[in-house]
Symmetry: C2
Subunit: 91 residues, 2 copies
């Protein structure tokens, strides 16, 4: 029962970042998204991953592999869109 | 050791949402922030809270109380700013 709740919770807190990625891909804009949010979350979630490995907790491990990856993608997208905008403004 | 890693991880994944709240308060805009992200994360983090309570895991409990609250605040801010914009456009 615990593990089921943990796996559902983990699925939500990792897939929760997907709509942000999809929205960014559609609008090619992430101006209002804080840069620090995904950076801090990526570091935090990779620490959760270490914690899950130490406690051999499959729910925590699974959730945080995907969540860390999503947040790295969000940081990369934000950097890319901001650079593209700067290049446009320069031209 | 595990608990320390868990508490640091928890501090990061809860305080990670604060820069988004601060940015929103400064710019009064959250257009590029996906609506579904904080909604799904708030539900997911409250399930993590249940999981933490069931496993009596203080790191998980602490992290997710604050994280759930932050995500509820982000949803509320986004709704408020969007409504204010709609009213302005209507006037």
């Amino acid at each position: 029962m615990e593990t089921i709740i943990g796996l559902v919770a983990g699925a939500l807190t990792s897939f929760g970042f997907v709509p942000q990625i999809v929205k960014g891909l559609k609008t090619k804009k992430m101006e209002d998204v804080s840069y620090y949010m995904p950076v801090i979350l990526a570091v935090g979630m990779s620490l959760w991953l270490v914690y899950g490995l130490l406690r051999r907790d499959i729910a925590i491990i699974a959730a945080n592999i995907f969540g860390t990856a999503c947040n790295i993608v969000i940081v990369a997208m934000k950097r890319m869109y901001e650079r593209n905008r700067d290049i446009k403004n320069y031209i």
